[in-house]
Subunit: 447 residues, 4 copies
């Protein structure tokens, strides 16, 4: 091969990740070949022993991977043949590189899903722990980045537990859908040998076998599905990154990031920069890019296997590694966040966050909601003009806008009370928060 | 508002799609307000009657949608208030536009998933019917667009049934994950009114309620998940489009597209162009684009609701409409395909597609597979040089390359026999194809 | 044609935008046919008169566009033939729909580039006007969203003039590259008629003609190039949107958005939401999506024209319309921004923004920069512990950290003086800002 | 720093590519510091000598890059300080890592543009050489992958020269736009030292200096612009890859790929697979992905520098490396293509490719084009029914459809003559092809 072409063709620079799966797949295949009488048992025994040795040597870096051998599969097979000679040349009986690589990739993908689910749960636990510590911390709830209504900080933190919980679900669904062994699909048309696909699948831990050999060798849906789930998880992480950057700014100062996750400036001695939240926010780009890379590769490919599919590996690896790294680093960072409860509490008191409560109060006095909303709008504008918050306006003054207002309004304009009045499932009332924490504690404990 | 700003702000140009869901949501909400004693039952009766009238008039285009009223929600509410006055102003009690639009969108998304699943199954049935008609049609199986091994045409067609079956699964998973009512989440912090979220959810057909109000109003994961599933389905359709373009070219001539799906040229009188397969292939681009649009919108948004989320609607609608249209048109087109069985059969006989069988034959004679592969490689090169296919080489000549070859080799070099020797689950042997057709018949019948 | 197929095939729902260009192209083509003696001059006269009538009627909506006629080209030609009969049937002599649509699209693209360049300059002028008004407004400059060094607000605003200036350049480059007439390329292989391509190109305002007919009919590079430029411009707009959202939050309160660009909440009476900056930020997603849509369509297409190219139109239109709308609305919004100079000034004084100046001061006293940086780091940490800013620390105290510090340090710790010391090209010193404003005034005046 | 955070923060794993630019930038900066009297000349001499040593040692791998030092800049500076002590600590006077990395990246980008332009021209030369060899090779021209009209193979090949020529233009435009030195912009607000920005820029080979320091440190437009140009070039390469896969299939057999660019199958001994064209086609995905990664990173970033920008480096490097590799390998592959002129010629004769000529012929006899098109449509359908090509139909038979047809029609139905009748600029007539080859020869010679 032309040297440039060989360099482009070689995949061992990234498919080394498949090594343990490749060896496991070969051992399961070899055992089956013996079981079915396709290859003599003695040869298979030598194959298995040889494969285990090759794995050990590769793990210990006692063997070099050779780009001239193109991919991990040929590297392993060549090393095996060097060890056991003729018997090695029988290993590829009844399979093809096409179903072999599909099998390896699925085993990798299953393990990647598992790893990411664990990573998500670790991060969710970090949020849950912070939520437990901040049930009683009042905070401003925002919409449009404008202060909106008072909440408990725990409520805000639990929103992330919910978001990352959905990511978990998507990865598990992907896991289940990909949990089929393609081995035995051959190059595209299965094989003429009387192989036992179900037996091999079982040995490798798959729940079943694929149903169409042409589909099986050309299918990389699982990579797209995992990377799509990762892209959305990363979008969630970008929201978290954004909030941490905001909240640690001089203007917000709601939280202090743990020092181990920040860095200084080469010229500004006073700077403590939120590097990690920024990087996590930015890494969203590469996972979105990985998703587009994968989808683009698949566009317009005729059946069954095409070499284009080699280009599906790196985006998958990159997305899995990136998300995993971000989850790890964010788990540590979130665990170390120090919220400024006093400052958060002051922020709740500034910006008319209880205006909605006043409108709701008026509804309880019989005013239709739309009208109540309008009246309170006027009150707020007057209050802004006077530079006072609602609770500071004398009741008589309020009554000039809405005669229905009575002394009992005070209980509605206190943020702490207001937040507990929001006592419906999913709401920020203490009772609801405690119930949700208990539910999540159970969910996250059992895993 | 500034006119340019108002034009940008208005969403009624696309969110009219939410109308039936908006009305259904309002009716369920109103009933609950009465049930909980939050709003007088008489007012609620008038609301419901009024909402039904508004829906009827909007369906019959007897009411105009007014961009000045910004969105479908305000259009409906304004029309209602015009009809029933004061009572209408009570409808918004205990909810916000933020949870209202989230509810509408989820109802739309549930129905979209259902529609797409039906569309996928219709296309799968079209493939299944063609597969039944072509169990006995031999065809060349390809890898790298090079003829590889003989298959049955049904096998190739069933690969698409498998691919679109996975798309179906992804949409159902999305359906289940999104099947939670966000109503009652308010603007972001639920509500102070003693609403019954579960009751409303049940009335609207949701399986449950969301667990965190801040998450619920800012969550558009379901849109991303559906569009990601649509993008992958569209990638599958692009593979189909590509194959139809190839197969209907003068070079392949494997299939004749039904006339109703082709068009001519403005200047070349002889042309019959595969316009529909090309357009379906191309429309993949817009769904990939919709996915990126959605993910980009979400990147870096702080909690909870931000106006940015308005931009999640159009990509969702476009992806759903595009995929639905492509599935419909492809269902008709696939049903009308006329395959040229004779030409497919001839193609199987040209290009040494049974070379693998010869190698496998040698393995049955005790030759290790790698060695058998090498020997057959030499035979093929000699055959190419002589311009003959393998079956045409005298046995004596074959034996010069591999003395193990006997008279029984003929049975291996016949494509029809070869394909039935590939008799493992997922393989192209007649028995396997028939079993898979039976399995799919059952799956696709029960729906 | 099958009705679903016809619906998919029809492009008149979006290519009506090409109407004026289609008519202009046909008139220029017709004139040439007469000039070259290919079609009798009398016929051509009737064509031109007829085309002008058709255009008038379409502009006045006196003619309906018929989807059954598929595209704008056939609609125009059919309307023409209805008017002038036989002569209309000669119009298509020596051209094909493939070079016709390529020509129409390029004429559209040229005009779109022009429109966007004007839109960019209008926005740049709005920034320039604000910059002129805020040369003397000090503001904190940020990196990592942490206060970093003092700047003039004008400096920050001029950064946007620079960014949008590059977008302008990219669109002009795209303009120049696409400024070639493809007419005469026929379906793919030019034409047998003795046409005059250069003459038609000149009449249509093109600077030249394309050099390869196969390339010309299959080339949509110009659409990709424009949309890529639009995507980057939109990324710049998203940065602006983000800053406006931040700066108008309760935490920053650096700016008040003009009321006409904000909206309220359906339930929170106090809210004034930055809807337009949020929408502009979000619309970035759709332009990124348009870019991916276009690139995906082109991937893997064989030469020359393929129907897939029909799918390149909508992303181009959407990107152009979106960017144009965002530029318009942002021009109005930026013009109406009211900055809070006092609050910006206070922010400059909080957060040790002159720490770098102190380090630089030490360098002037002979301390190597890295050492100066370390010393000042210690001073800042001590100041934070004491809760004072640098200017408030007694000199004797400062000297305990760095004996080189003298009385002259005060001039370095005053933000207003500090910023003028940053007197290099592109820096925030008043002199530099004024020079840059003068330069831009000249650039933006002459257009 | 937390170890996970440090691992995420470190960029030296990829920014080592900037090393030569970093050293060049530091040397130019240091010289200026001496020239301006900011740092003693003796110190600067030691810096320069030291930097050159560091570069030499890094090139020779005599120095290790240490991830603990985070990036290439700190690695270089640390190595320098180790060599020259105190003097090294003065190097960073008047600059910041923010303008330093911006400078390094621009120097890299300029050199990358140059490299890619050379790569494009090499590939264009390979096409031009093949075109020269195939001026007289007739080939079917396609639209919709249906045979359309006869062309010269050279014409098809020259279409690629035109496509890659536009890519060249885009890269040169990017080059010119980015050709401004940001050095001196400091962290975001320039510097208090009396530096000479223009002098440093000149020394580094830049054509000018940036005009706004806040913009300059946060600007990565040049990366987006280069990667967008690369994405489109890669889309062109994907079209080439697709055509090579098609043309080397058993069905087309128009071309034989050079052996050094193909590979075999692990189980199918007869296979010669077009691996390189497939990989090049697929690599389009990663460059599209790189583009989306970059754009996503930029979305919504406030000014000026944010750590997110670190994530713009890898997509730029990956896109540049990928395109460069694809151009190299395709240059070799295209040079080695062996076209089957006989088979191409036969293909021209099958499929009624001269139907348009017959219609054009009728126009010369006074038939309006649309009518001529319809008549020829009927003739072609009759010919298909009889299984003959147009040239084989007796004239008397043709006259039954169109009495205007005379003996002179034969000259129109001969593909070789037909193609030379297409004699307009950009057309496939021999004269035109030769002129275009001459033009390109000149263009590609002078570089």
């Amino acid at each position: 091969m032309d040297p440039d072409a060989a360099a482009m063709n070689a995949s061992v620079g990234f498919d080394w990740r498949l090594m343990p799966h490749d060896i496991a797949g070969s051992i399961a295949h070899a055992k089956m070949l013996a079981r079915q009488g396709i290859v003599p048992a003695a040869d298979v025994d030598r194959m298995i022993a040889g494969l285990k040795e090759v794995e050990k040597e590769l793990r210990e870096a006692a063997l070099d991977l050779d780009p001239a051998l193109e991919d991990i599969h040929m590297n392993v097979e060549a090393a095996l043949s060097k060890k056991i000679g003729d018997a090695g040349a029988r290993l590829h009986t009844g399979r093809s590189r096409n179903d072999q690589v599909a099998t390896d990739l699925r085993l990798y993908a299953l393990s990647a899903c598992g790893k990411l689910v664990l990573g998500l749960d670790t991060l969710r636990r970090a949020f849950l722990a912070q939520a437990k510590a901040h049930v009683d911390t009042l905070a401003p709830g925002y919409t449009h980045l404008q202060r909106a209504q008072p909440i408990r900080l725990a409520h805000h933190l639990l929103a992330y537990v919910a978001m990352f919980g959905r990511d978990r679900g998507r990865l598990l669904d992907a896991f289940q859908r990909l949990d089929e062994s393609p081995l035995g699909s051959g190059a595209l048309a299965a094989t003429t040998f009387p192989i036992d696909r179900e037996g091999v699948a079982k040995e490798l831990g798959f729940s079943g076998v694929s149903k169409n050999s042409m589909d099986a060798v050309g299918d990389r849906d699982f990579a797209v599905e995992i990377v799509a789930a990762a892209a959305l998880a990363q979008a969630h992480l970008s929201r978290l990154g954004e909030e941490l950057v905001l909240w640690s700014s001089q203007e917000f100062r709601f939280v202090k990031l743990p020092e181990g996750y920040c860095s200084g400036s080469s010229i500004m001695p006073q700077k403590v920069n939120p590097d990690i939240p920024e990087l996590v926010r930015a890494k969203t780009g590469r996972v979105f890019g990985d998703l587009i890379a994968l989808l683009t590769v698949l566009k317009g490919l005729p059946l069954a296997y095409n070499k284009d599919l080699q280009e599906t590996q790196e985006p998958l690896y990159d997305a899995v590694d990136t998300l995993h790294q971000c989850l790890r680093v964010m788990s540590g960072l979130v665990a170390g966040l120090e919220f400024d409860a006093a400052r958060l509490g002051r922020a709740v008191g500034e910006g008319y966050l209880v205006a909605t409560e006043l409108a709701d109060y008026l509804v309880t006095k019989g005013v239709p909601f739309r009208d109540a909303h309008d009246v309170v709008g006027k009150i707020v504008r007057a209050a802004i003009a006077s530079g006072v918050e609602l609770a500071a306006i004398p009741i008589a003054e309020l009554q000039r806008f809405a005669p229905q207002i009575g002394d009992d309004v005070a209980g509605w304009l206190d943020a702490a009370k207001a937040v507990d009045r929001r006592d419906v499932v999913g709401g920020p009332a203490k009772k609801q928060i405690e119930a949700e924490i208990a539910r999540l504690d159970k969910e996250l404990a059992k895993k």
